[in-house]
Symmetry: none
Subunit: 126 residues, 4 copies
């Protein structure tokens, strides 16, 4: 598992939640697979087990994992749901991004151009 790096501007448990959300949505965590135990994950992320627990409970409320008493937590195996979540999160992300850029006074055309140039720039660096 990757090294966790936390920022100060957001609760740790929410950052953990984001990490798991992205991992599941992107397919990095396979559907139906078992998560490590709360304690193991807590050690890996260098946080208190309670903090990790809080993140996982939240993740469960979203329907992305299910808990099986005494045997552990499992990524949902409902591929469709993961797919729809993926779209939902992406849409929310895009909308908030566009709203912010519009608030800065950029036209939609400008935003598109910006992104294109940003992408090209990155390619040059690689």
């Amino acid at each position: 598992m990757k090294e966790f790096v936390f920022t100060n501007d957001k609760p740790i448990y929410l950052q953990l939640l984001d990490f798991f959300k992205a991992g599941i949505i992107s397919g990095e965590f396979k559907e139906g697979s078992r998560l490590d135990s709360v304690r193991e994950l807590a050690v890996a992320a260098k946080v208190n087990p309670n903090t990790m627990q809080k993140a996982l409970v939240e993740l469960e409320r979203l329907g992305l994992v299910r808990t099986e008493r005494t045997s552990g937590r499992f990524i949902t195996d409902d591929k469709e749901m993961i797919e729809s979540m993926k779209k939902e999160f992406a849409k929310a992300e895009i909308e908030s991004f566009l709203a912010k850029m519009q608030g800065y006074g950029f036209s939609q055309k400008q935003v598109l151009e910006f992104i294109e140039s940003e992408i090209n720039e990155k390619e040059d660096n690689e």
Copy 2:
């Protein structure tokens, strides 16, 4: 002034700060123009004057407003600076957006397509 709506996941003063930053950058607040008094602004936004004060002090630290001891606060009239801030903020916004979408497992091409369709969708609604 618009109705303010605050979310719970971010300090109010930072949300106010964002509001002013966007207003200045987008030109909604004209360069060189005078801001209402802290009290008036606080009443308009329905927040504690201390909170508004904190946001304005921060805004000043960024160089976007200046205080004139007796006559109030004024938006900077340094057009170039506003312009460079605009670019800076936009770039930061775009980078964080792209990073998140990549974390969700989308390719850059997909992101571009998403944004295009999102923009078209909005046009249809208008």
Copy 3:
């Protein structure tokens, strides 16, 4: 045997216990009849044999079944006892129900009306 569905808010063995209690009290399990083996029951309910065992031991402690060392477990044939249990459980159920409804601020008259309308509603659906 019916499909078992378990909830998370109560130990499984207690849910099994409730199932057997209701079955005996309602006459669905005939007095004096033989129960399947722990293993068979566990398979049918898709639970760990230990869990099923625990439920049955509890059931025995209540006096609703008896174990015959070599031939298995049998529902008690003491009809009177079953009958008195039935009354006892019902009374407890009713009292806790009424207490809860009173806690919600309903008068006893209202409770009666609710139940009547609930019953009628169900009849309509059947």
Copy 4:
């Protein structure tokens, strides 16, 4: 505030939740009124502040209270919502009660009679 008594068969925070739910639904806690602080409530109930916090967060998720940063928690003032919750909870309670009684082998008519006699019995005691 009443003396709290907790049982062992249910998490304390859920018992606290039930207490608040009943209090709000029954009108004992007036709509729009302010709750005592988490710390005060925790002292009153003789539980750890975190446990009380957990109950209140859950209560908020149900929409029965709202939190105002730095000034405290308030019962919702949406009377209609309270009323609909009242009906919803009552209906759930009744349905589960009837299902259980049916599982015990009682006809609906018998249940009605039981309740009537139970109510009369109580009147005699008072």
